[in-house]
Amino acid sequence: MRALLLLLLLLVAATVQAVEPRERLADPALEARARALSKELRCLVCQNESIDESNADLAHDIRVLLRERIKAGDSDDEVRRFLVSRYGDFVLLKPPFEPATYALWFGPPLVLAVAGLAIALRLRRARTEPDAPPLSDTERQRLARLLEEEG
């Protein structure tokens, strides 16, 4: 029973957000946009949390600022650009697709392709390797002798 309660509390705890009630916008549509946007923005203080999850002061300030801008009529892209121009691409949790990040985006598929190719080549060579040449007469006699000894 106690374990169950603990489990329940843990589950609840996992969904708790750092967003405070007084930060929220009155308009549910705008608030939903703000929430979605703040989930993809990095908190620069904790670096591995989004500003949606972070309790850092700076994350709070940026959440408020982001909502101010959305209320003022900025599009999602404009808000993103506003922050990127100040904090750089690092503020985006998902790195943008551009020449500087090609290695990041193409690297893993490339490694996978090279490895796949190597394995495929190897398998093909194993399959096409010619059968061993037939046994010579002396070998056959030796084999017969060995088998007899065994029997």
Binding site: L44, V45, D57, L58, D61, L65, R86, Y87, G88, F90
Partner: protein, 176 residues
Amino acid sequence: MRRALYLLPVLLVAALFVFFRMALRADYDPHAVPSPLIDQPMPAFDLAGTDKRLSGDTLKGEVALVNFFASWCVPCRVEHPLLMRLAEEQHVPIYGIALKDKPQDTERYVAQMGNPYRRIGLDENGHVGIDFGITGVPETFVIDKSGHIRRHYGAPLTAEELRNDLEPLLRELARS
């Protein structure tokens, strides 16, 4: 050919070690985020000050430092003697921006510790801080004569940085 292939893992591990060694350099900080504002015009601001207002125009035509600090910030107290020294020796104007600080606390801070700043702007809601892309205090920007940001220090200045990086840069900027 076959024999050469056996060397491959050794080479890969060697390359990895070179990479590790590079990452262990004393001056390499994996958490440092390069500011996109380098070589960009300084963000515009106009703040009430402890004495006179501080705005972008205040810095016009001179090489200057903009130092974000706060009375509640412990690392700022560590950095403070260096700023005092810099203000006395280098004759470079340092402009302070007090981040999220009450004016009376800022005033008490400089009264107690000494005041290296030519002027102090009060950024009580932290918006100017966000415009400069700072993630904490203290952070310091070097502004050139044309009002462009030339350097950003995202942590308390150290005596080493002052000697090896900031002072040569200030001399270079003063000449241009």
